[in-house]
């Protein structure tokens, strides 16, 4: 429709020239705005966050120095995200395989569509479900672990009746990250060249042997980067954790208690920012800076693995 009606040609050439210059300038300007915005993010965070380096005592929420404040939160962030990935990654690969290789074509199409929709559900809704439904239903499971595996430090009680524990937070993050990892893995699996899959089948491979011979080697870097991008999402996720965990500042591997469980950076900011003032704000912003650096590193790694996989 657009080709058939070419715009009338400008009589004066200068109009075209001026228009070109202006339009090129505007679009380049937008690109530069993005650059400035990102520079702004970095500068403002540094400007507000770095003064917190000297914070201690009251300004660092009762800790001796800023690192003693950040470390437990960082630990909690990593712990929750790692739990989430340990649960979500295998399941997501399974679901992606179902969609790409196991389910009949029409079913697979609907499933893929469904997973995309689930990936769009806002995180606060996952958090709401986590605290009001999942946490309560996990209590008997935690109690069982406390009773039968309490000697393992992970599962030492007491189990809170609210079910608001580190493991619940990890579960909610896993449920959130699942559709994202699935979507990427599905894409990668679907792109596996048919000719290699047929080569495997023609050698007399079963379906699993075909996947092992032809799909996984091809998809390895894609799967890695999917998990890393999912991890990046889990690290930066605020609401789901903020709703489930209380803002505590301790380092603990315990997964099923309320008092002795760690919290995460993002959740801690969300829960404390409203009441914070003065140098406490700087402290919180500094922790946000730390979070930014970590997620950036993880995402960067994920993308570079994906890029390398595409070249190779």
């Amino acid at each position: 429709m657009t080709v058939t009606a070419p715009p009338e040609v400008d009589r004066e050439e200068s109009t075209g020239r001026v228009g070109d210059v202006v339009f090129a300038g505007i679009s380049r300007g937008s690109a530069i705005v993005i650059m400035l915005a990102l520079a702004g993010v970095a500068v403002f965070l540094l400007q507000q966050g770095l003064p917190a380096l000297g914070n201690h005592g009251e300004a660092a929420y009762g800790k001796d120095n800023i690192w003693a404040f950040v470390w437990p939160l960082l630990f909690g962030t990593l712990l929750a995200s790692v739990i989430a990935m340990l649960i979500a990654a295998p399941l997501a690969i399974g679901v992606a395989l179902i969609i790409s290789h196991y389910a009949p074509r029409p079913v697979a199409k609907v499933l893929g569509w469904l997973i995309d929709l689930l990936a769009a559900i806002p995180s606060v809704v996952y958090g709401l479900w986590g605290i009001q439904f999942l946490a309560l239903n996990m209590v008997p499971v935690y109690k069982w672990f406390d009773a039968h595996a309490g000697w393992i430090p992970f599962f030492e009680g007491p189990v809170p009746n609210s079910g608001r524990t580190m493991f619940t937070a990890g579960l909610v993050l896993a449920v959130m990250a699942l559709p994202i990892i699935t979507a990427i893995c599905r894409e990668v699996f679907a792109q596996t060249p048919l000719m290699h899959q047929e080569a495997a089948l023609a050698l007399g491979a079963t379906r699993w042997e075909m996947i092992r011979l032809a799909v996984f080697p091809y998809a390895r870097s894609g799967m890695m980067s999917a998990v890393l991008l999912g991890l990046g999402r889990a690290l930066g996720e605020t609401m789901a954790v903020a709703l489930v965990l209380a803002p505590t500042l301790i380092v603990s591997f315990n997964l099923i208690t309320a008092e002795r469980s760690s919290s995460t950076i993002a959740a801690n900011i969300a829960l404390n920012f409203g009441n914070a003032s003065g140098s406490k704000i700087d402290t919180l912003i500094f922790s946000g800076l730390v979070l930014f650096v970590i997620t950036f590193a993880v995402n960067f790694l994920g993308r570079s693995i994906a890029a390398r996989g595409q070249r190779g």
Partner: protein, 357 residues
Amino acid sequence: MADLQTAQSLERQSMPLTGASLPRQAPLLAAVIAGGIAALIALLGGFGWVAAIFVAWLLLLVGLPLWSRAVEGGRRAVDRIVTLLVWSAFALAMIPLVSLVWTVLSKGVGILSSQFFNNSMRGVLGEGGGIYHAIMGTLIITALATVISVPIGVLTAVYLVEYGKTSRLAQVITFLVDVMTGIPSIVAGLFAYALFALFFGPGVRMGIGGAVALSVLMVPIVVRAAEEMLKLVPDELREASYALGVPKWRTITKVVLPTAIAGIVTGVTLAVARVAGETAPLLIIAGFTTSTNLDPFNDRMTTLPVFIFYSITEPGLHADAMADYAWGAALVLVAIVMFLNVVARVVGGLFAPKTGR
């Protein structure tokens, strides 16, 4: 001579194509048996049904492959284990996702009423309030974020695809857009806060700040989507336009962008759906209030996600009533996001460029 050859080839050419195999219904049969045994154990041992299902699954996971191994051999047994594991993973993954959707629907639908949509929470304790203020807040802040992000995002994509190509600046921008997609949403909120605090002093809360924070999250999504779509526009189209003596900027605005518009609209709609559900940055910069505020440049402004968050974390005396509000708001929010997603898909499907894939 011929005999010898036949004999030799006979040895090599015995062709068992059948191989013993389990009947087609074997997995079903095994599942029923495993379920039966587990039910029996559960009855005798007094387990709950969750434990019974787990026991049944374990029995199936061990039993079916053993049976298969005895009849069909090791390779088929491994194949069956993997098939079982993959489907189990799928079932396990579906449980929380289905439960989530079901919980939101069943808990949220009860409170929906005209009062719920038309009232704010101003002065309301317990029942009788609504989420009008939060819906308006979400609409205003998301709309403002869209107004900021779309021109910047689309124009940047135009720069990357049409002007910058492989220039140094374009490479840097592409990298920065990558970085931006990974910014944790709470960090975007901190940025907006730091920016606005510079002008309005500490403790600043206003709707436009929320829009700025959401833009930081939205711009990279829009750039990515628009870039993909612009790259799909075939070069022949541009050349045809140049050949008619049309200047470049007119070619872009009258030929390239209209061709890619459906894809760009899809991308923008998905981006809107994504940021409409954001909570963390708004918590920080837009704040929370119980009354309706339609002025984004002045004072606090509540959105649906923030409303949900505070209804749960600071419910006050009427925790149960506030939880009902939260579920109702969650249902409305999910409905909005799903609606936007479906619209995006329909738009994308209807006007999909014929050149694509």
